[in-house]
């Protein structure tokens, strides 16, 4: 199209629409000015491969032609900051000569369009705007209908548009090519122009479904090109040719996708293979790699150096100087882990209760009174079992189902599997042999491979960062098996079933004093998830319960048993055991208390102790330090002389309890008998002593000061703590609030004061403070420490803040009575707490159970991902770090939002896909296919590149190690495809196969691209010599020729 001429013609003929197109032109000019494309300086040649590696930018504006809306977009390659010097370096000598040709340009540099046309450094970008690919442009403008449904098909409208644009470009002297899109948007038909002061470039395009066979090769295309140039100059300069053929490999003969989905049911048959519910599944179900595209490129040939026509071709892929490979990934391949996770996440939305899910399964005779039901069952279970071991879980298990009263045949989780899972969760129920086996498994990990070391560091980081539960904990195991059960045994119903069994096991363990295995002892760890904390708490309760009952048992075995059982009012409200309360001291005072009292020994001790006690009535018995329990002298005769008012009943009842305390007392304790009474001070017998408090002596009596046995503080889970914090915070910022808060928290202080008073008869607040808050005791300065009897106490005074009349400390001290810890009201009511937890667990809806277990599931899933990462791809490493960071945040956030888990799980799935791809590629490019030994590294490098870059160029081309492997893959695929053909037409092809040499190594190229370039004067022989270019892409049923032809507008 000669835009100029047509514009002229148009101006004359059509006045009616003049205002419309005039408006269009001025608006276009306005946009061009706005984008500062007027007097736009020439850009140098683009650097090699910068079209794919650099940044492209876009600017868009809307423009109307009458009521037809266009979007005008300026698309350009961002100029790198330090471009100046690099540009020169990158120029090939060839280009420089080309530039010399054109140096007669007025400003000395070639216009950008011409540079782009002839620049061979970005010939076949694998990812670029089509106009950039076809015309090699680094900047251009596109005007396309704003809506895909608007189409310009009408020839006269096209001309009208093009001439309007021509006018705008002329007026503004904008030298950026401008294109208009015609026809349906998906056909990508553009027509464009570039206007320079003395020349123009026209961009035209042919898009065909069929190309006549005489043009379907280089020779034919050269004919078209030369015909279009119509040059009569002779000798005509040769046309330079760049060619790229692309071959597609679809069949991976050597490595059919290996992964078979796990068959859960079959694995249960064997004893060994039933590990499936212990680990989350992993990997892709279909090959995540679908095709390989091999592009063979001949970068710049002269037309006379190469022949390709209907009968002959020089373009043998094995001769191509450049090979590049792209991998076509399967889109969104089905992957097991991702699938599992998504499936689980959906459960969180479910609102059904356990009853609704399992209700129908309970047998008819079920009386709905589960409590009674369970306790009956428990009686069955607690029938004296063999030795000290707990009843083997397998026997428990068969009864467990009956506990739930689910008809075995209708239970979502089959009994056998349920037993397996419960055994897995509670390995302590197994016989010792099995547990040993498990232990030895871990030891194998002594020699670690490099991969494993890397994984280990990840695992460590995970358990630190994630608020879940330790990997070998029962909660973690439960999460994994619960989700496997969900996937394979009926979804939420199975979850509900397994969960209820789990809760029953919890109750069973509580009632029978078995610790929950796989949960660390001690205070709930707030760095773990709530469910794990709850189980820790339950273990705390069990621990206290055991201690209480041990005491009780030890005691009832004795002669006063009947008495005491009658006398102890409510066992629950009183601490009956000194060990019970001794724990807290260990961090404060470095006394490690072995919690499990050796019953035999203690019995003996008790016995002797009581005898002794009977003999020596009013003696204070000191302790010997050899005792492995705790250094504590204990009085057991107090029942008779106990002066504390109102405590008589209790005191009596505790007599035997004290006897137990004396277990810790060495029988050889014959230490100093200090006078017990000091004149003037009312005395009672000391009780509940733990250990002497250094050499401190009581201020008034001069007696040795003792640290009392105290109550342990209550363990708390984070929800309890939140509740408490909320209550405390609600009291506000006022002094009264502070006062009240102190009061509310003084229970512990009171308890400690009472214990102290009991252990140190005749003590004063000053004494207490010296032990409890030494900084609030200010010794008198200057005075010689007077260590002599009868008043060996230090001289000094309480700190000012302790002296404030009516302060909490004084108040509490005054109200404190001398009661040893074991007779005080329990600070921690383990019975109540345990019940609360069991209620919490059993009342949870299965959907909520899943939500509570999600942290552990995420943890397990990330571990699975890391375990499977043996490829060490930097990109994957980055992704993993992101996943872990995200998970740490999501798991720690106080509000567990399912939406955030969705994001997280998407990322984990993505990591799974990346790993699956890596695995797939590794099996495809195996080292077995290598000819040269020692090239493994090169192949690995290639595979790793494939994973990280959209296109990888092969070092050494067809001759390099990777190239030869690819060659072999193609040969194999070719052979197999011919084989298939043989099978189909067996009769006549049997011998054809024998003549296998006729099978070409490569299939026909799926795509052929050619770029033809030349410099000739145009339109007339005396015109200036200008560059011309034609890009051709030939694909089956889609042939496109895109020409850019220049035109001297002065000498024409």
């Amino acid at each position: 199209m000669a835009a100029d001429e047509e514009a002229d013609v148009f101006e004359i003929t059509d006045f009616t629409t003049a205002s419309e197109w005039e408006r269009f032109i001025s608006r276009l000019e306005e946009i061009l000015h706005g984008w500062k494309l007027v007097n736009h300086p020439n850009r140098g040649p683009a650097l090699k491969d910068v079209y794919t590696s650099g940044d492209w930018e876009e600017k868009s504006e809307d423009i109307f032609f009458a009521d037809f809306k266009f979007t005008v977009t300026f698309i350009y390659l961002k100029v790198p900051e330090s471009g100046g010097t690099d540009k020169k370096e990158s120029q090939s000598p060839e280009q420089e000569t080309e530039q010399d040709n054109a140096d007669d340009e007025s400003d000395g540099t070639l216009p950008t369009v011409f540079v782009d046309m002839m620049n061979m450094d970005n010939d076949f970008p694998f990812r670029a705007h089509c106009l950039c690919r076809w015309y090699g442009l680094q900047e251009f403008i596109v005007a396309a209908p704003a809506s895909n449904s608007d189409v310009i098909e009408n020839e006269s409208r096209m001309k009208l548009l093009m001439s309007s644009i021509s006018i705008a470009l002329h007026n503004t002297e904008c030298k950026v090519p401008l294109f208009v899109q015609f026809q349906q948007w998906w056909r990508k038909i553009y027509s464009g122009m570039c206007v320079m002061p003395d020349s123009t470039v026209e961009y035209e395009m042919v898009h065909l479904k069929k190309l006549p066979s005489q043009y379907n090769h280089l020779e034919g295309l050269l004919d078209i090109f030369k015909g279009k140039l119509g040059s009569t100059v002779s000798p005509r300069p040769p046309v330079s040719v760049s060619v790229r053929f692309t071959y597609v490999l679809q069949e991976w003969v050597n490595s059919p996708w290996p992964q078979s989905p796990p068959d859960f049911s079959s694995s249960l048959e064997g004893d060994v293979g039933c590990s499936d519910f212990r680990i989350l599944p992993f990997g892709a179900c279909e090959d995540p790699v679908s095709e390989l595209h091999l592009s063979c490129t001949w970068p710049s040939l002269s037309e006379d150096m190469i022949v390709e026509n209907q009968v002959y071709s020089d373009l043998d892929p094995l001769q191509a100087p450049q090979w590049t490979v792209r991998i076509q990934m399967t889109e969104d391949p089905q992957c097991l882990l991702g699938e599992y996770l998504k499936n689980c996440l959906q459960l969180c939305h479910r609102k059904e209760t356990t009853d609704e899910l399992l209700g129908c399964l309970f047998t008819e005779d079920s009386d709905n009174d589960q409590g009674a039901d369970i306790s009956q069952a428990l009686q069955r279970l607690t029938q004296p079992s063999v030795s000290y071991n707990m009843p083997s879980l397998t026997t428990v298990m068969s009864q467990a189902s009956s506990r739930l009263r689910i008809k075995a045949e209708e239970a979502p989780v089959p009994t056998e599997l349920l037993n397996e899972i419960l055994l897995y969760l509670f390995p302590d129920a197994k016989d010792s042999e099995n547990t040993e086996k498990e232990g030895s498994k871990d030891e194998d990990s002594d020699e670690l491979t490099e991969d494993e070391m890397r994984h280990q560091t990840y695992f460590k980081q995970l358990s630190k960062d994630l608020k879940s539960s330790p990997v070998n904990s029962v909660v973690h195991k439960l999460a994994v098996s619960l989700f496997t059960v969900n996937y394979h045994h009926g979804g939420l119903r199975a979850v509900a079933h397994l969960w209820q069994e789990f809760v029953l096991e919890m109750r069973y363990r509580l009632e029978n004093n078995y610790f929950i295995s796989g949960v660390e002892n001690g205070q709930p760890n707030m760095g773990s998830c709530l469910l794990h904390q709850k189980l820790q708490m339950l273990n705390c309760c069990i621990e206290r319960k055991i201690k209480r009952e041990q005491l009780h048992k030890g005691y009832t075995g004795r002669r006063h048993s009947t008495d005491v059982t009658d006398l102890i009012p409510t066992d629950d409200n009183y601490i009956g055991c000194p060990e019970d309360v001794s724990m807290e001291t260990d961090d404060a005072m470095n006394i490690s208390v072995s919690e499990t009292a050796d019953n035999n020994e203690s019995c003996e001790n008790e016995h002797r102790a009581s005898e002794q006690a009977n003999m020596r009535l009013a003696s204070n018995v000191d302790s010997s330090s050899e005792d492995e329990f705790f250094e504590c002298a204990e009085e057991n005769q107090s029942g008779r002389t106990e002066p504390v008012a109102g405590a008589e009943m209790v005191a009596r009842s505790e007599m035997a309890g004290e006897n137990t305390i004396v277990q810790s007392m060495s029988t050889s304790s014959l230490a100093s008998n200090t006078s017990f009474k000091i004149s003037g001070i009312p005395q009672h017998r000391p009780e509940g002593r733990l250990t002497p408090c250094g050499d401190l002596k009581l201020l008034r009596s001069g007696e040795q000061m003792y640290i009392p046995v105290t109550q342990e503080p209550s363990p708390m889970t984070e929800d309890m703590l939140d509740e408490q914090a909320e209550v405390l915070a609600k009291l506000g910022s006022s002094p009264e609030g502070t006062q009240l808060r102190a009061k509310m928290q003084s229970a512990c202080l009171l308890s400690d004061m009472e214990s102290f008073k009991a252990a140190n008869p005749g003590c004063a607040l000053e004494d207490f403070v010296r032990w409890y808050s030494p900084r609030d005791w200010i010794p008198n300065e200057g005075e010689e420490p007077d260590n002599e009897m009868p008043l060996p106490g230090e001289k000094g005074q309480l700190s000012q803040r302790m002296l404030i009349p009516g302060n909490m400390w004084v108040e509490v001290w005054q109200s404190a009575q001398a009661i040893p810890a074991h007779r005080q009201k329990r600070l921690f009511d383990d019975t109540k707490e345990a019940e609360k937890i069991l209620h919490f667990l059993s009342a949870m809806k299965p959907g909520a159970v899943v939500l509570h277990l999600l942290p552990c599931l995420v943890h397990a899933a990330i571990i699975r991902v890391i375990e499977n990462d043996d490829s060490d791809i930097p990109k994957l490493r980055m992704l993993l770090d992101q996943v872990i960071g995200k998970a740490a945040k999501v798991l720690r956030s106080p509000h567990q939002e399912i939406r955030r888990y969705e994001d997280l799980i998407k990322m984990i799935s993505l990591a799974e896909v990346v790993i699956a791809r890596a695995k797939s590629l590794k099996t495809k490019f195996t080292e077995e296919l290598l000819d040269q030994p020692g090239a493994e590294e090169e192949l690995n490098y290639f595979v790793s590149n494939l994973l990280q870059h959209p296109e990888v160029s092969i070092r050494g081309g067809p001759c390099g190690p990777a190239g030869s492997v690819i060659h072999k893959l193609f040969i194999a695929a070719q052979k197999s495809s011919y084989l298939v053909l043989d099978d189909e037409t067996e009769e006549n092809s049997g011998e054809a196969y024998r003549q296998s040499p006729t099978i070409p190594d490569f299939p026909n190229p799926s795509g052929r691209e050619y770029i033809l370039r030349t410099w000739v004067p145009r339109p007339a022989p005396y015109s200036k010599t200008l560059p011309h270019r034609m890009y051709c892409v030939l694909v089956d049923n889609d042939y496109r020729l895109a020409g850019a032809f220049s035109h001297d507008t002065i000498f024409q």
Binding site: C130, A588, P713, M716, A742, R775, I804, L876, M878, V1035
Partner: protein, 205 residues
């Protein structure tokens, strides 16, 4: 009070040996008074104060803990979720300074936010018998990546400043207090899908 323009609520923790003046510092900050008759704290105490910083208002929920050893078994559970912690020692007590390591240890064990901001405050600089030099304090703070200031609850020197500094630092660490700063960023494939319009290899099937 209108809560609308409050940017965020921050949980701040005050820890340190007994008697170093934690409660006094807090009282100075919240009520601008000094009470020589401040009782020893039992368990934990709590105060709220709204602070305006560069036009942003942050609500501070400050938990004052008892320094007494015997209460320590309880108080660490309050460390949870704190964004900032003020670790106090008494410049006139070498002992309170030497215990700092133990406090940091405990913090490490019980706090749930690994990136919480820590500030070291040397209190009671109004008193004469100084046992810990400013350099010692500085050195310790540098070693443990903490903010540092010396203060006196009695003369109010440094008190307001310490809280403000801490809060400012927390606000500058957005991951610490914002709930969900930005959406997911996928590391892989992102670039591949970012290309507009006619991206991809569209000419060869």
């Amino acid at each position: 009070m209108d809560d609308q323009d409050i940017l965020t609520t921050l949980k701040i923790l005050i820890i340190g040996e007994s008697g170093v003046g934690k409660s006094s510092l807090l009282l100075r900050f919240t009520d601008d008074t000094f009470d020589p008759e401040q009782a020893a704290t039992i368990g934990v105490d709590f105060k709220v104060k709204t602070l305006s910083l560069d036009g942003n208002r942050a609500k501070l929920a400050i938990w004052d803990t008892a320094g007494q050893e015997r209460f320590r078994t309880l108080t660490p559970s309050y460390y949870r979720g704190a964004q900032g912690v003020i670790l106090v020692y008494d410049v006139c007590s070498r002992g309170s300074f030497s215990k700092l390591d133990a406090w940091l240890n405990e913090l490490e064990t019980f706090s749930t936010k690994h990136d919480m901001i820590k500030m070291l405050v040397g209190n009671k600089i109004d008193k004469d018998k100084r046992e810990v030099s400013k350099e010692d304090g500085l050195r310790f703070a540098r070693k443990h990546h903490m903010l540092f200031i010396e203060a006196s609850a009695k003369t109010k020197e440094g008190v307001q400043c310490s809280f403000e500094e801490l809060v400012e630092k927390i606000l500058q660490t957005p991951g610490l207090w914002e709930t969900d700063r930005h959406g997911m960023t996928l590391g892989v494939d992102n670039a591949d899908t970012a290309r507009p319009s006619c991206g991809g290899y569209c000419s060869v099937v």
